[in-house]
């Protein structure tokens, strides 16, 4: 692809998470040409970063990696990663996207993913893909099952020492790469831009991110993952194997003071999942979940919750009011129990916050689809057409329109693909 080039296709999918990949695969299998643009260095979204998935406890990467590979190898799908969507307009049966290709400082066509550059680079930087619990390098393959397996250099951390360029066997490192714009013209678009979590720093009562051994649920996914930072669950302040772990639910959702009055839908279930996985990884540890109420609404979810209880996971009904640093790296959790015992403080070795869920992308100033009160993309016929947006020919799938688990995201992605397919056919293309 070159500067100023225009690419034409039947459908443009914005966001390469599980919803976007499913929509793209469904359309491509119907012989429509699809372009996926992804803002990250790899496709896969949150799901590729998870350890196992509720309610089956299947390995997340074992499900996501084949989908990523199928999309990457599909003859009708073209994927552009590390992209910035600048503008998306729709008009009479066609959409037009203006996209900026950000520089990786590595030629994607030449890179063979050997990681020689990464091993030779002298700069260690906190690895965001491992929750910051260990380091990666200033030039690196983003993570082991990333697609594409192409290195990227972070210019903010690079000393320009030249080692990576010298060692690269294919001459792929290019310090002079510049961003460039290209255009995509399609008949229809599916927005599958997903969600992000509120930050751990958002709530002073919960320590503002300054209390050691208070981690986010996504960080816990990394601690539980087989290729995680320690390859086991340890607490980050000193490497101790924790004996007591607590989950704090609604730590940023259903909370008007944070501007997020709505429920995150999947936090109860992922906390129960993580608690179960922890009890397998650390059989002697005490595991507690502080909750307001458990929302186990999907197929098999209530059974999952009951199994967790039977496994000995402690469910404490009560709102946590304060989280503070205690002695020897412990975390003090102060809460009001709803069983009448009143305000109590318990110390734990590790505390996991189930943070709030926000949209990962705002269409404001880029695309004229409407958003709802919660800022997620508005679905104009939620009961009979949950993938229809306020603009004809632009559909939405997955967590882009609101917090949604994987099963719902995938089925919605299929529905969006069918709507898009019907739309393309109706345009006579």
């Amino acid at each position: 692809m070159t500067d100023g080039q225009t690419i034409t296709c039947d459908a443009l999918v914005v966001g390469g998470g599980i919803a976007g990949l499913q929509s793209a695969l469904d359309l491509a299998d119907q012989d429509f040409s699809v372009v996926i643009i992804e803002k990250d260095l790899s496709i896969g979204g949150k799901m590729i970063r998870l350890s196992k998935v509720f309610p089956t406890l299947d390995c997340s990467s074992c499900i996501t990696t084949p989908k990523m590979a199928s999309a990457a190898h599909h003859k009708n799908i073209t994927i552009y990663t590390w992209c910035d969507l600048k503008e998306l307009t729709s008009n009479k049966g066609s959409v037009r996207a203006r996209v900026t290709q950000k520089p990786r400082y590595v030629d994607q066509d030449k890179c063979i993913g050997c990681r020689k550059c990464e091993y030779s680079c002298p700069v260690y930087v906190p690895d965001p893909e491992q929750g910051g619990f260990c380091a990666t390098k200033a030039i690196r393959i983003p993570f082991s099952n990333a697609i594409p397996q192409t290195a990227a250099l972070d210019p903010e951390s690079c000393m320009l020492c030249g080692k990576c360029e010298k060692i690269c066997p294919t001459g792929a490192v290019d310090y002079f790469q510049k961003p460039f714009d290209f255009t995509i013209e399609a008949t229809t678009t599916i927005l599958s831009t997903g969600f992000e979590m509120t930050t751990i720093e958002g709530k002073p009562q919960y320590g503002d991110g300054k209390v050691p051994n208070v981690v986010t649920a996504l960080q816990m996914e990394r601690l539980l993952a087989p290729h995680g930072p320690y390859n086991r669950v340890l607490r980050p302040s000193d490497g101790m194997e924790p004996d007591s772990i607590a989950f704090v639910q609604c730590a940023g959702s259903r909370d008007k003071s944070m501007g997020i009055p709505y429920c995150s839908r999947f936090c109860c279930m992922y906390a129960i999942k993580q608690a179960m996985l922890l009890s397998g990884a650390l059989p002697l540890a005490d595991i507690y979940i502080y909750y307001m109420d458990i929302r186990a609404f999907g197929k098999g979810y209530e059974q999952f919750y009951q199994t967790a209880k039977a496994m000995g996971i402690g469910f404490i009904k009560g709102k946590v009011g304060r989280i503070e640093e205690a002695e020897n790296g412990s975390v003090a959790v102060r809460f009001e129990a709803q069983d009448g015992t009143g305000v109590t403080t318990e110390n734990h070795d590790l505390v996991v916050l189930s943070l709030g869920v926000l949209p990962d992308w705002s269409p404001e100033g880029i695309c004229s689809v409407s958003t709802a009160e919660d800022h997620f993309i508005q679905t104009v016929q939620p009961s009979i057409g949950p993938t229809l947006t306020s603009r004809q020919g632009i559909f939405v799938a997955g967590a882009a329109s609101g917090p949604k688990d994987i099963v719902d995201s995938i089925s919605e992605a299929g529905a969006a693909a069918m709507e898009a397919s019907n739309y393309i056919i109706a345009q006579g293309k």
Binding site: Y119, Y124, T136, L234
Partner: protein, 111 residues
Amino acid sequence: MSDKNKKKNKNKAEQERKEDMKRLREERKSSIQRAATMVKTQRKDLKVLMKQMGSESATAPELAQATGMDVAQVIWYLATLKQYGEVVEGAKNGSYFTYKLVVKEPEEAVA
């Protein structure tokens, strides 16, 4: 093209590249400075840590106590060195795992 001309062109390209790199270094002066300072600290820390590890296995708190480094920093380096195959996890000592340096043949060692 004669050999002389080829050589001349090559020299010119090399000279231009040198100039371009110089300009890029100037543009990225502040981030290069930041990265260089960070690398200096990391090299110092890693030297101290690896010297302390020697051929013995030790836990993160033991290494922190022996080196005077912050224990959170020690476990961060250990996890990193483990990712890059420089350190392996050993037996458990109480609630902590021990770590040991991987002894490498000289040509195996990474920069």
